[in-house]
Point group: none
Chain length 241, copies 4
């Protein structure tokens, strides 16, 4: 787990000291809410500031002083509300993953054809991804070095994966999708495709045309499963599966 700068924790009592409980899950769930209005305001300001600073500088380059300065508070308050730099991160992730999960649950509009639903789903993902690109990128970055964040990354993926897999399976059962595909693996690959693509687009700044992106994504996704699309991106009734 990370190395650190700064001074040694001053030993206390006689227990062997530890720096980070290591075990605790990143998503600690509930966070204590300050009892006063002023406290709640300050805490909220710190979270907002932390998100901005993290997104701009990355977690490791972000300094507590950056956060407190941006929140317009003194240095010390930060530690009044959070145990450590990590713990604000926890909190941020708790809310973002929540939002993303909800988005993934949201009805992609059950109307229309299969392709319409795929297209709607892609559009929806693009929207959420565009909004959270920097935070997602941060998780990705951290996941490369820290097992805890790797797990977080995979955990965030999960619901999307499951939904995709279920969708593919349903299409296979309906005789619409290629029955020779392994639904789980395909879901992982196609999910990765869109995930990777949005990061390239929204975070790394590679430029794409939105309409083209949505259509290409949808067409690749649909056709890869064995559906056939016509020139206008609709199910090609002339060329059924």
């Amino acid at each position: 787990m990370a190395r650190s700068t700064g001074s040694a924790p001053r030993r206390r009592r006689s227990d062997p000291p530890s720096v980070r409980p290591a075990e605790e899950p990143i998503l600690s769930g509930v966070a204590t809410v300050p009892s006063t209005t002023r406290g709640r305001r300050t805490r909220a300001a710190l979270i907002t500031a932390a998100r901005e600073v993290f997104e701009e500088l990355g977690f490791r380059d972000a300094r507590i002083s950056d956060i407190s300065a941006r929140a317009g508070t003194s240095y010390g308050v930060f530690y009044h509300y959070f145990d450590s730099k990590e713990s604000v991160l926890d909190e941020l992730f708790t809310s973002v993953t929540g939002e993303m999960y909800n988005a993934s649950q949201a009805k992609a509009g059950s109307g229309g054809t299969v392709v319409d639903r795929i297209r709607a789903s892609n559009r929806q993902y693009l929207t959420v991804a565009a909004r959270n690109a920097r935070l997602i990128a941060m998780i990705e970055e951290l996941a490369y070095r820290d097992p805890q964040f790797r797990e977080l990354k995979l955990r965030i993926r999960e619901p999307f994966l499951r939904r995709n897999e279920a969708g593919i399976r349903r299409l296979q059962e309906q005789g619409l999708a290629d029955p020779h595909l392994d639904a789980g693996t395909a879901a992982s690959m196609l999910g990765g495709m869109i995930e990777h693509f949005t990061l390239l687009w929204f975070f790394h700044g590679v430029e794409y045309d939105e309409a083209v992106a949505v259509e290409t994504l949808t067409r690749l996704w649909a056709q890869s499963l064995g559906l056939r699309l016509d020139a206008s991106g609709q199910l090609d009734s002339a060329n059924p599966v």
Copy 2:
């Protein structure tokens, strides 16, 4: 007491949030070769050690002392051969991107059907990716914070992309692939799919069955372009495009 040397002015966000001196090209091309045998050996040992250490700890967590220790040399010798931590990285990348480019150029065997060639190409990528997963992951990680590495990442991608795009275009011209696809965007998405997938598999440790992976990848890739595969993963001649 106070010398004027001291520590490196520790990068911070205002300065280009870069891991390296911003201006210099990452792939500096030629590296000075030591004149004596002993020198060449030491230099080589350092590079090998650096690659190992970087792969294990990541660039930022790797310490010069880790590298020199692993190389079995003294601390100071590192700076005899390299200007900075970054410069070894340059050197590493010079060779790795070279290797990967060559791999991408390597004939995927022009024999067989279109699908056979796609499959062969996927297999080949998987092999190269498996071998270089940790270094690629490192570039990815750095790319999140450092524009120079972002460029590197994109540059490494380029040849694969171009080859894919050209391949798709050729298939479209031959009337084999869906003409409504935007070749560039599709190449980017499909390339990203496999790139993302191998990282998940080889670096993050998600488990997949190799045979299933190759087949699913190939089937998704081929079908997304409009080709149709039969149960055995061969071009389905009964269902031409």
Copy 3:
């Protein structure tokens, strides 16, 4: 779990971080010797400086910067030679306990009467104690809070205790000392008496006349064991045991 001042140690790799191995014995025994003359000199200067600073300010109030400043080195060198503030302390204790142990072993002059030997032994202890009072006081102080130092304190006591106990037992066997005394307990109490007294005198600054101190100490010690002394502090042959 330990509380700490200063910044958190930068976590590294994926190991759960630890601040102080906690287990390691305080007297780690061998210390690495720098290979160059300059290095040896610097290291020695740091140890000397550390002893002075510790004695003046106490361990907890001593700052690394105080030590390096006194040693005339830069801040950083300290960590070139020592792992932590604790480790210099280790080293200091290694040498001091060594010195004290040797002193306790040194022939107290086997000549003269029993009382002469007791007197000589007391004198010797007073000399050593006067020289090391501040360091001993520091160990005492630390022993109140830190089990490791408590053990150290007791360990330093040991040889003196054993020697005293053996001496008492011998006198009892020779029919010179009161046979009803528990030798171990008596040795602990009498040893504590002199230990406590020297701290009072040499560290806390209570004033005593040296001659009176030696004589009173000797007389109390001897008579408590059942020996009888005459006006001049010699064995009272007129009043045998």
Copy 4:
């Protein structure tokens, strides 16, 4: 942003290396008594909590938050009743030294022989010391760094010393004790012996048998003064002084 309040200017060596504001007397005598019942209860709870916390963690490692938490009050209320961490300590000592002084005054029972009275006195000291070991240890610890506590330590010692000295002098006048002993020095040494011993036993956890301890203590004490005890620990009338 920057208020003018902030943290305490953190003591350092140049300032009197003192735990407390140098000037004020430690035993401030009268403490302001809250006017309401609730107030008195809160204040009392804080004192009790402080004693417990100080005994468990030591003065320096004890945090105001530890105290208020243990007292079941809010953080801020502490400063409503006390000026500083030091001032609770004052209060504690006021009561403890009072208790100890009373104990030292308490008639050790004037009945029985000289030895009986010495034994009774030792027993009494042991009882008081056992009860207050942790607080006494705390004073000892502080006395190593803080002149004020050094004085306190010596002041607490005083009455015991005076009583011992007077006792010795009386015995000398009665022809019972060795006239060649310096009463003051002997009293200091013997007092230190028992003080040191009880700390070893009750605080540092060295194990002793109570009966053996009392007898050895009494025998050493009595004989060192020139009294002679028989096998049963009574004055040996067959061997008068």
